[in-house]
Amino acid sequence: QQQVKQSPQSLIVQKGGISIINCAYENTAFDYFPWYQQFPGKGPALLIAIRPDVSEKKEGRFTISFNKSAKQFSLHIMDSQPGDSATYFCAASSSADSWGKFQFGAGTQVVVTP
């Protein structure tokens, strides 16, 4: 079964708006949560990542919010731009597991309209 559940499946937002993508997990051993951005025909690129010892991490227009008690984390894209149109994947891994074994969410296709 999918260990990381991602929603929504797709998202349309106007230029300048806020895109919000949510992920939930069950495995409390997960201790590293990256987000990847994938453009059509390209491989996923690391966007931003967070560990559970912080509740929020911001890099430019991208912010991860983390709620350890709820076992949820989300990606916020502020001031969304047409160039942000891509598929976004959340992921999770555990340092107690074999290194590099990531569980990926199903992905969210974001379309930013001009």
């Binding site: 491989g43 690391l46 990926f104 199903a106």
Partner: protein
């Protein structure tokens, strides 16, 4: 992060044939992995490529179907054997350093089996 090159980037293959995908990294990396991304789907780990020894396969993937080599710290190959249309996917090489936290992806090899 390292520069990861994959060959071929795209290929159309006949049913029943085999194809070898190459992954070259511009610097030595501790960990190398192979992922599969079926059209419109998430990323699934096929195996961890171990230098100088047999790869470690995830549940549902077997060596006879996906033989993997990793002769050194910068190069790995994945062969997709006896292909069927169900093997039509993007195959992604990913790398990481065991001293770090995350993995990085190549551009992928898009295989279509006809």
């Amino acid at each position: 992060s390292a520069v990861i090159s994959q060959k071929p980037s795209r290929d159309i293959c006949q049913r029943g044939t085999s194809l070898t995908i190459q992954c070259q990294v511009d610097s030595q990396v501790t960990m190398m992995f192979w992922y599969r991304q079926q059209p419109g789907q998430s990323l699934t780990l096929i195996a961890t490529a171990n230098q100088g020894s047999e790869a470690t396969y995830e549940s549902g993937f077997v060596i006879d179907k996906f033989p993997i080599s990793r002769p050194n710290l910068t190069f790995s190959t994945l062969t997709v054997s006896n292909m069927s249309p169900e093997d039509s996917s993007i195959y992604l090489c990913s790398v990481g350093q065991i001293s770090g936290n995350t993995i990085y992806f190549g551009e992928g090899s898009w295989l279509t089996v006809v």
